[in-house]
Amino acid sequence: MLVLLGILVVVAGFALRLNPMLVVTVAGLVTGFLGGMSPVEVLDAFGTGFAGSRSVSIFLLVLPVIGLVERNGLQEQARRLVSRMSRLTTGGILAGYFVLRQVTAAIGLMSIGGHAQTVRPLVAPMAEAAAVRRFGTLPDAVSQRIRAFAASTDNVGAFFGEDIFVAVGAVLLITSFVDTTYGYTLEPLQVALWAIPTAVVALLIHGARSLHTDRALTKAIAEFQPTEVAR
């Protein structure tokens, strides 16, 4: 039971807004020691964990080319493109990307999207540009909100699309864990099939929220310009 104190460290650390690097390291050390691990064992776990999860950092190799293209005007071009297509609204762009992300993830093309590869260089600037065309210069809080929502479409689309694809990590984890622990022979296809209802609900909820963005923006902008509205 004592090992649960590590969780308390995490919760308290984030609540106090301490640096996450510090919080996580201290929580790891505390949990390890309370769990009866020796200092070397704790450090061994740290090292093994890092070595086994290097793939999450590989997107870094994409940053140089993104930076190169941004320097040559990528975001400006994304804006120009949007301003030429006058029927594209912020909500439309976000909903479109969301559906594209979910559908491509569902057929196994997870790597087509991503925060570094698509959201920063393309989706966020386009969504902002569509809002600028409609409302003029945006208050900072509003553009922050658009960007954060753009990031959320990528996450929701990827999470609730990928499990429909049979060869994805989550499905394989479920089948291998259940098969080895309980002696089943689950077909990945069966598991993937039961991911479809949730995927549809996610599509409805987040898709509706994406489309609703336009109305939410109108309201938010109105709040920021009370004096001009009064005139």
Binding site: G6, G32, F46, G49, I58, P64, G67, S111, P125, V171
Partner: protein
Amino acid sequence: MIQVEWFYWLTGLFFVAVGVLVARDRTNPRRTSSGAFWALVGLCFPYSSFVVTGTAPAWVLGLGLVVIAAIAGTGRLARSGSAVAAGAAGDVDGLEADRGGEGAARAAAPLRAAGTAVLASREALAARFGNRLFVPVLIIPVVTALCATVGKDISVGGQPLLQSGNETVIGLAAAGIVAIPVGMWLFRQRTPALALTEGRRLTEDLGWALVLPQLLSVLGLVFATAGVGDAIGSTVSAVLPDGALLPAVVLYCVGMAVFTVIMGNAFAAFPVLTAAIGYPVLVQAMGGNPPAVFAIGMLSGYCGTLCTPMAANFNVVPVALLELKSNYAVIRAQIPTAVPLLVANVVLMYVLAF
């Protein structure tokens, strides 16, 4: 045969290069400790190869990681002032564009794209290159997807071309590398130094958020080794009322979400909650349909992933990438989706699995 380790070494080399550039950069208020941070992170990558093969002790890497976390956690990691840095670091082609009118332009530029280039010149570049600008960006998903799908089946001399099981990671890394010469050719850039400078700028912008996802999987491993999962599992099954289907379904789904919030990873929560409730109660005692129970249980965990800073690569890295002011901006945008979706999962499991 192309090994994934090559790309990890390259990533490490890139981090070390960033560390050297930062350490030499006088615009960085803490250049020694910041340079050491990036260089140490870089060295961890090749060293990990030996840890994976078991030829080097893992605790050395663990110790390095604690040092890295200490540097960042005590505020000794600082960002370099980029204007001078870009020029000094060999950014020749774009240098003229960097001079003058910077402050005003930066204020108007929504995302700090190409940090030092003025907005007007980037507008001009955008007009000149037009939609060609999208080519390098689109190369990335196309090459990655090709490697992940077709690449699997290509073999040279009986050996698979790409190390099996790592096709997507290799694809993404290779795509980032292939796109650089294409971009340089399209934009008549002669020096690859510019790509390095730009990569360094984005890396410094991301800061410790780049290392956090890996540190969190470390925490997950420590939690698992120290028995946190079992402690939670026994607590959860102790509070469960006997023989009631709906409370059991709610506890499994909500438990998956809550435990995922704590661990930052639904994959870590799944075995624990499934051993505590999912299998013994929902499948064995109540006769639930196994694939439906397990699939919807896992997806309930994903609702938790949307709500936690512990899922750093999804919820914290984009904060840095999109230059958001609040660490919780992305999570705040996701909660209104996550909560109703969790409720929907409970309903779906209750209706479909029994």
